[in-house]
Each structure stands twice: as structure tokens, then as C-alpha cells.
Amino acid sequence: MSTDHSQLVAQSSASASGTPDSGLAPTPGPQIPADVSKRPPGPWVVLWKKFSRNPYAMSGLIVLLVFIIAGILAPKLTKFDPAAIDLMFPNLKPGAEGHLLGTDELGRDVFTRLLYSARISLMIGFSVALASVAIGSVIGAISGYFGGWVDTVFMRIVDVMNSVPSLFLNILFMAIFGSQIKYMILILALTSWMSIARLVRGTFLQLREMQYVEAAKAIGVSSWGIIFRHLLRNASFPIIVNATLMVGGAILSESALSYLGLGVQAPKASWGVMLSNAQEFMLVDPMQAVYPGLCILLVVLAVNFIGDGIRDALDPRQQVTKSRRRLEKWRKNYSKSGN
């Protein structure tokens, strides 16, 4: 999706440099013969350039990639089974009997369980973000584009969803539907699409009166065509920022639910499950509680850094902050010399 999209955006920005996506760009027409070597970089390239200059964002990206690769390659990286109980060797110290981080109270290899938890947590995190982007964009698009009573109804639903703390809603839903991973993804998405819907709706309210929308309407583009091809694309960057931050939130929610015993269930490994085990056996082996929490912290921090990095890269006000910093410095010096 991203490559296809970037090409389209690059094309349109090349054909009508300066003006936003004209809506007519993909149709073959009198295109400005663009000198390829002088073509201004597309928005994705600019984004990446700014993003890669941000040390926090880049280290976040690296950490996240490490976790993703570790999750994918989990069966290759360890010879143990995450659920295999070995009562001969409970609570081993790190390094003993080939267990890199030791074993838990049932003799399960801690390192292996951490790896498989990464798998589940990241899978849930990304699926939830994708699902809530899907739900949120559709609802936000419909209510922003059509307005009227549809908008009122959807926005009341958003109000309702926002008026119960999401952890409570998650617990309630999990209790009703049972603790299966597919339900958990659905439930977490159902309790977190609201911010995306608000954002998309806001963008649509701003843009639906634009001339290029009118032009698209005039040449007979259907409502759905306008929504998906011309309007939603303009909200894509803020959606990406929001979705990135949502991954972190979803991972936190997943571990919280699993910790409470309502999420991923015991034989399966999840950082939350591991923490709740670790708390029970705190007196025996205090280190068991450290690793899973550290993993959650690292992944969520990484994702948040990436999200903030993208936002900063997109934010034209970034320069303002810099000049403000200079101003502050100047003011400090000035006031010192003044007094």
C-alpha cells in the first residue's frame, strides 16, 4: 500500500508542484514535462530525511526492528518451547543448563517466553492499530463528508465510547466475549478508534469545501471516490502518527489485560502473563518481574519515539520551536545583562 501510495503522491506533487493533490493528477492529461533530475523530492522522501535526522526516532526505530525480528525469528533463536513445563529445573539462575535468562517456577525458559511474547504483543499492537485506523477512518470520513444526522449519530457514539475509561470497557468486553486473541484485537480496536475518527472528521470538515473536491464532483466522481481518493489521502500523515502511538497504547492494554487474567491465557506467553506470574513468585525469584516489564517499556518507548519523530518531521512549526529556543537564549542573556 505504501509504495503505491508514495508513487501516486510523488507523481501528483511533480505534476502540480505547490498545489495540493489536485484530484485530477492520475488521469492522463496535459502533463508538465518534468525534468526528472530536477523533480522536487516527494513528501515521503522529505519525511524520511527529517525523521532520520532525529536521534530519538531513529533509536526507537532500531529497537522496534530488533523486537520485530526477534519475534519473527523466535523459533530459530531458541531451542525451547515457550509452554514446555520442565519441573526438574524450576527457578534456574540465568545461564544455568543453557537457559539464557533462567527458568520460571514451572521450569519454562524465560528467554523463550520473552521472545514469543514479543510475537504476540507486537502482532496485537499492529493489528489493533490497523483495525482502528480502518474503523476510525471510515466512520470519521462518513460523518465528516456527509455531515447532518449521520454525523450527529456517530459523534454521539464517540461521546459514549469516550465516557467510559477504556480499560473498564476492555475488561467488560473481554468478560463478555471471552479471552481469545482475535476477540482481544477486535475489542481493543473497538475501544480505540475514536481519536482517528475525530481526526479524519476534522480534516474532512476542513477540506470538503475545497475547490478540487468541487471539481471532482463536477466531473462525476462518486462520493466514495472523493472520500477515498481525494480526501482521506490528505489525512494520511496525521493518521499515521496517531496509529503509531496507538500501537504503543495497544501493547500496554494487551499486557494490562493479560496481567489481570483477562487477556492472553496462561500456557501462552505474554509479557503481562509473565508479570502476573512473577508477582506471585516475587520472593523466590525477583528478577522474573524485571525482564517482561523492561520489554514492554522498551517497545512502547520505541513506538512513542517513532510516532513523535514522524509528527515532528511533519510539523512545519518545528522551525518555530528552534527560533523560539534562540529567542529564549537571547532573552536570558539580555535579562542577565539588564539586571
Partner: protein, 323 residues
């Protein structure tokens, strides 16, 4: 103003109504529905039917809903299936316990975060500001229950400074000093979460105001920096902060689910999880409604507060629509 008030109140009532409808439908959409779960297994069909009749489960769903709403409006929150105890008898003491915990955490975090945030806004990117933003990042990314477990291990098991969990030591119920010792760890955990967001709000709100023209004017007139910050900027910066605090009011009774579970605090959140694990649907429904009502009232109060505090907000037809 009156018109706006009426509109907002009506809107809130509508939202609460929708919440009750949604919760009710959800419970009835559950696989098996309440009928299966509410009734004891292993009974003969005749007894089952009788029980269903006693609980009113044989009636059509709309009728059941109306009955339920009627009971709710009279303050009857239903009974637990297990021991047939009135939910309201169990609910209010737990709300009080949560309120003690959250209130303490809230106060602590306010006292620290607001002044700190304001100070940081005057020294952007200084050492204190960097520290604060580091703490904020930690507060947002750290799973609260993990922080709680770590504190337990370090301060309670290893150093034995504070009790591990619960609200009172056995035989010390009502002892304020004992309660205080039990409060320290959970309050620390909760305060970190609050701190992270309030500090950010205070700082950014102040920064926004400090960027305004009238601040520049004040400075240009030669007003002392201290006066600029406290007299000109702070007053206006407090408006959004107050709104945020209003929006957070309901968290005082609802926000500590994880911390309560870690520290075995006998509050709302832990009870909710207990009820969820034993599938006590009527208790779950009532708790959800009670929390939702508090949240809606909190939002309402925040909105009204905002209008009262900020003279620039003119509420009329336009104001109502924007909400």
C-alpha cells in the same frame, strides 16, 4: 448561558441513555447471553425455567431493558448471582476506598506537577525541563503495574519500609498512620502517571500564553519577569489546566484498576476485575453505568467551569454546536 447549560445537560442525559442501551445490548449479545450464565448449571429444565422466570429473563428483551432502567433509576443496582448480595451495598464502600487512594495520588501529583511545569516553561530545554520530559516519557510508556511490582520488590520486600499490599494491616483498621503507610507505594505509582500528563499540560499551556502579544507588551513595558510569569501569564494559562482537571475528575473513582490489583487495594477497579473474572453481569453492568455517569458529569462540570473561568468563551447557539 442558560440555553447552553440546558443543551449540555440534555446531551449528557442522551449519552447516559445510550450507554445504558449499549451495555444492556452487549450483555445480551454475549455468547450464551445472561440466561446461560445467570442460572446455576446442572438443574432440571423445569427448575431452570422457574429460575429464569424469577429473574425476569423469560420476558422479551425490550421489556427486560425497561425493567432494568426502572430499577436503576430507583437506585437498585441489582444483585450478585453468587451470594445474592445487593450490588449497591458492595459498590459504595469500594468507591470510597478508591477515592481515598486516587484523591491522595491526585493531590500529590498536582502539588508537584503544576509548579514544576510552570517553572519549566520559563526555562525551556533547561536541565529541569529535560528531566521532566524524561519522566513524562517514562510515565507514558511504563506499564503502571510493572512499576508497582518493582516498588513492591524493592521498598517492601527488600528494604521492608512499606507494607506489601492491602489497605490496612490486620487489626489496624481505622488507624490513620497505618493507612498512610499503605498508601505510599500505590500513590507513588499513580502519581507518576498523573505527573506525566499534568506537567506536560502545565508547561505547554504556559508556553502558549508566554508567546502571546500581551506578554511581549508587558515585557516591553519593563514589567519584572516574575510579574510577567505570575500575574500576566499564569492566570490565563490556568484555564486549560482547570479544564483538564475537570475532565479527570471521574478518574478519581475509576482510574486505579491496575494499581489496585497490584497492591490488592479493596477498591472499585479490583472489584470490577473480580466481577469480570466471575462473569457477574449485573454487577458489571451497574459499575459501568455508575462510572459512565460520573464521567459524563465530570465532562459537564469541566465544560461549565471552562465557560465560567474564561470570559472569552461566549456560549450561545454557536458555542453549543461546537461541543
Amino acid at each position: 448561558m442558560t440555553e447552553y447549560l440546558i443543551r449540555r445537560v440534555l446531551q449528557s442525559v442522551l449519552v447516559i441513555f445510550l450507554i445504558t442501551l449499549l451495555t444492556f445490548l452487549l450483555i445480551h449479545a454475549a455468547p450464551g447471553g445472561p440466561t446461560k450464565v445467570m442460572l446455576s448449571p446442572g438443574l432440571s429444565p423445569e427448575v431452570l425455567e422457574q429460575q429464569a422466570k424469577n429473574l425476569g429473563l423469560d420476558k422479551p428483551i425490550p421489556v427486560q431493558y425497561v425493567h432494568w432502567i426502572g430499577d436503576l433509576l430507583q437506585g437498585d443496582l441489582g444483585y450478585t448471582f453468587k451470594n445474592h448480595i445487593a450490588v449497591s451495598d458492595l459498590l459504595w464502600p469500594r468507591i470510597a476506598n478508591t477515592f481515598i487512594l486516587m484523591g491522595a495520588a491526585w493531590l500529590v501529583s498536582l502539588v508537584i506537577s503544576i509548579p514544576w511545569g510552570i517553572y519549566n516553561s520559563t526555562k525551556v530545554y533547561g536541565l529541569s525541563d529535560q528531566t521532566a520530559s524524561f519522566i513524562s516519557y517514562l510515565g507514558f510508556a511504563m506499564p503502571t503495574f510493572w512499576f508497582g511490582i518493582l516498588l513492591q520488590q524493592w521498598l517492601s520486600i527488600k528494604l521492608d519500609w512499606f507494607p506489601l499490599s492491602d489497605m490496612h494491616s490486620r487489626g489496624h483498621e481505622g488507624d490513620i498512620g497505618d493507612l498512610f503507610m499503605h498508601l505510599v507505594l500505590p500513590v507513588t505509582v499513580l502519581a507518576l502517571g498523573f505527573l506525566a500528563s499534568y506537567m506536560k499540560y502545565a508547561r505547554s499551556s504556559m508556553l502558549e500564553v508566554l508567546d502571546q502579544d500581551y506578554i511581549r507588551t508587558a515585557r516591553a513595558k519593563g514589567v519584572q519577569e516574575r510579574k510577567v510569569v505570575f500575574r500576566h501569564a499564569l492566570r490565563n494559562a490556568l484555564i486549560p489546566i482547570i479544564t483538564i482537571l475537570g475532565l479527570d475528575l471521574p478518574i478519581l473513582v475509576a482510574g486505579a484498576t491496575l494499581t489496585e490489583n497490584v497492591f490488592n487495594w479493596p477498591g472499585m477497579g479490583r472489584w470490577f476485575v473480580e466481577m469480570a473474572n466471575s462473569r457477574e453481569y449485573s454487577a458489571l453492568m451497574s459499575i459501568t453505568i455508575v462510572i459512565a455517569v460520573m464521567v459524563v458529569i465530570g465532562n459537564l462540570v469541566a465544560d461549565i467551569l471552562y465557560a465560567v473561568v474564561d470570559p472569552r468563551v461566549k456560549l450561545g447557539k454557536q458555542g453549543g454546536k461546537a461541543a
